[in-house]
């Protein structure tokens, strides 16, 4: 019984850490962006303030059942996925006590499916609002997903083939035992996944889903107050999940929280840097981009893994 209590407590702490890290990264990005743009910028905790404000809105527009469930769906999906991600290296003291998870054999494939859930929730919620901008935004989001999923899945398949396992924990263990990160043992797959991550994080040039000048703010157009706040939290947790997954799979995982933070932050800065200097793609250009070099790199990586 004690073990279960610890597990539940650990799960709560994992969620809080994921949320705090995701939100702070967003805040740091805003600050850095402002510095690049010759400005002072907000504090790095601005996102927390925004969230608090959104949660303390007095009225919240109700758009029907799905509009109500979509933010819940997103945050539920985020936390569920988080539970399956090994935050730290299995076997470390921190990991055993505070960051347990429900990892099981074959969880990589399971995760691939689960990570789409958030977008699905968004799509359903946006569909209910009846705003044409939302509908177009959802279409664009799904199209873009079709684009970046291909190099991403190719990279993951290469990974599975190379290490002959579909368990994230096993992949991390193999990387630790061999001493070579996946990033170096199969750089092509890593690059393919990295390009895919540009699309996943939705910074320029792949911010076509919520492109302000085109679609107001896309799927979230009709969501305000608490709903928007919940979506923001879910998005932050998802950002942390994606970063941790990349670190686990390609950068050999992390042994302690500081190591995890350094690695994830370095990864996070790649799409952010890319976004500062690039305008936005059109939808079909974005898909073409993902099906070009990233897919080719993914195929090369897969071939290397097979032979």
């Amino acid at each position: 019984m004690e073990g279960l209590a610890i597990k539940i407590l650990g799960a709560v702490i994992t969620t809080i850490v994921a949320f705090a890290v995701g939100m702070t990264y967003g805040g740091i990005t805003r600050k850095l962006t402002a510095r690049v743009q010759n400005r002072v910028g907000p504090t790095i905790f601005q996102n927390f303030i925004d969230l608090l404000k959104l949660q303390s809105k007095k009225t919240n527009i109700y758009h029907g059942v799905m509009g109500h469930f979509a933010p819940m769906w997103i945050i539920t999906a985020a936390i569920t996925v988080l539970m399956f991600i090994p935050v730290l290296h299995p076997g470390t003291a921190w990991y055993n006590s505070w960051f347990p998870n429900l990892s099981f054999h074959g969880d990589l494939i399971f995760l691939l499916y689960m990570m789409v859930f958030g977008s699905l929730g968004m799509a359903l919620g946006a569909g209910q609002t009846g705003n044409p901008n939302s509908a177009i935004g959802v279409t664009r989001g799904l199209s873009q997903m079709v684009g970046f999923e291909i190099p991403f899945v190719l990279a993951l398949v290469a990974l599975m083939v190379q290490y002959q396992t579909t368990s994230i924990q096993d992949i991390m263990t193999v990387q630790r035992e061999s001493g070579v990160w996946m990033m170096f043992s199969n750089p092509f797959s890593f690059l393919a996944a990295l390009f895919a991550s540009l699309g996943m994080f939705r910074y320029s040039p792949f911010d076509i889903v919520g492109a302000p000048a085109e679609l107001a703010s896309g799927p979230v157009s009709e969501f305000g107050g608490k709903y928007l706040g919940t979506m923001m939290s879910g998005g932050s947790i998802f950002a942390f999940i994606k970063l941790t997954l990349y670190v686990d799979l390609f950068l050999g995982g992390a042994y302690s929280i500081p190591e995890l933070l350094i690695k994830t932050f370095a990864l996070y800065m790649i799409p952010v840097f890319y976004g500062w200097v690039n305008p936005r793609y059109r939808t079909e250009q974005a898909i073409r981009y993902f099906w070009g070099w990233p897919t080719a790199l993914g195929v090369i990586g897969l071939l290397i893994a097979i032979f």
């Binding site: 002072v40 303390s56 007095k58 009225t59 527009i61 109700y62 107050g225």
Partner: protein
């Protein structure tokens, strides 16, 4: 100045603090004052350091900036936008022309007194107000929020009949959905 700060509960105080430091401004340039908004948002004046940022749709926005005169055609859209915003919501009116018509006092197509149609929290005068004045206006709004006085959304709901009568006097063909939230 007498403040309501002391009478606020701690929860209210925290809420107002967060509202004060996170103002999402509706991206709607209703008049010529909109030209100073980019300047206010960019490097020299940088409003984002005060937590002021743009919001693309009315649902997400807290502050509606009325940047100058309102043509009657725009007024209809502004009312619609204002009603779509979520409480608590604030209105900052820009320029002399929102106060009494300013230089457009005799124009047949611009309203003279904005306050008759939607409740206004802060007026910034001048034609057009400089970015410093805009930021000063925002500061004043922040003080008002911190004191807990900025509750015009409720005032609008309570006096809806009066506002509606005024609005319908100007907008002849009233084809608008009801205000229901």
């Amino acid at each position: 100045m007498e403040t309501k700060k002391d009478s606020q509960t701690i929860a209210e105080y925290i809420k107002n603090w967060s509202r004060k430091h996170s103002l999402f401004v509706m991206a709607y340039g209703t008049g010529c004052g909109a030209i100073e908004i980019p300047a206010t948002m960019t490097s020299r004046y940088d409003a984002e350091r005060l937590g002021i940022r743009g919001a693309a749709t009315p649902r997400q926005a807290d502050v509606l900036l009325i940047t100058g005169y309102l043509a009657t055609k725009t007024l209809k859209r502004v009312i619609r936008v204002y009603e779509q915003m979520q409480d608590p919501k604030y209105v900052i009116a820009f320029g002399s022309c929102t106060i009494n018509g300013g230089m457009y006092y005799d124009s047949y197509n611009t309203i003279n007194v904005l306050e008759k149609y939607i409740p206004v929290d802060v007026y910034i005068n001048g034609c057009m107000p400089r970015p410093e004045a805009v930021i000063a206006g925002f500061k004043q709004l922040q003080d008002k929020i911190a004191r807990g006085d900025a509750d015009n959304g409720t005032r609008y709901k309570e006096n809806l009949d009066w506002y509606r009568a005024n609005q319908q006097q100007v907008i002849k063909n009233w084809r608008m959905p009801d205000y229901n939230w």
